[in-house]
Symmetry: C2
Subunit: 111 residues, 2 copies
Amino acid sequence: MLHDPAQLDLMFQALADPARRQMVERLSRGPASVSQLAEPLAMSLSAVVQHLNVLEASGLVRTEKLGRVRTCRIEPKALRAAERWINERRLAWERRLDRLGDFLAETKDET
Amino acid sequence: MLHDPAQLDLMFQALADPARRQMVERLSRGPASVSQLAEPLAMSLSAVVQHLNVLEASGLVRTEKLGRVRTCRIEPKALRAAERWINERRLAWERRLDRLGDFLAETKDET
DNA sequence: TCAATAGTGAAGTAGTTACTTCAGTATTTA
DNA sequence: TAAATACTGAAGTAACTACTTCACTATTGA
C-alpha cells in the first residue's frame, strides 16, 4: 500500500514545499500543536492548516485532537517508504556501475 | 550545495510526478535516449522533453547530446541528497522514541 | 459567564504545472 | 540529395497550488 504510486505522488509532493519540510523538520524533534508549527512560519494560521492537511493526506504526519488542541506527529513508516523508493533506484544504478567497472577491468586484463 | 532548500524543492517536486518517477526508474536500469524514455509513456515527445528538463534542473538527471541523440543518465549524488534529508528526519524521530522508551522503562523499574 | 485561545472552512486570486499542437532544426541513412 | 529520425521551442489552455481574508465554532480559564 505504501508502494502505491499515488501515495508516493502525495508524499513527494508534500515534501516539495519548503514550509512543509520545515514543519516535518520541527516534528522530527517531537510532537507539536498547529500553533507551534505555525509559530516560525511567515504565513497565516489558515495557510499552515492547509499545509498540514497536505502532510496528513500524504500519510507523512498523523494528527489527533484533544480538546481544542490538535497534536501532530511524524509517521516514520511513510517517511521510510519515500526513502526506500529513492534508495532502491540509486542502488540499482550504482550496482550497474559496479558491474560495468568489473567488466571493464576484466576486459583490460584480457588484452 | 546539495543541502540548499531550493535544490531540495526542485528534487522533491521532480519526484512528485509519476511520469518523472517512471523516467528515473527507467534510467536506474541504465542510460537512455529521449525517445527511449518516451516510449512507455502515453504522452507527446514534447511533454517528455519538458519532464526531462524538470529532472535535469533538479540535478537528478544529467544529459549529454551526441549527434542528434540526447543520452540521459541518473546523478546518484542528487538522489542521495534527497534520501539523506528524509533519513535524517526519520532517524531524529526514531531516536526520540527510543529515548522515550528507555525513560518509561526506567521509571517503571523505579516503582 | 465572558473573554481569550485554538483551530476550521469557504471563497477569491495570482502564479504554476502538465499537458497539447504545430512548426522548426540538426543529423543520419538510403 | 532527399527522406527519415531525433529532438527543440513557442504558444495556448485547463487544472492545480499556495496563499489571503473573513466569518465561524469549539474549548478553556479567570
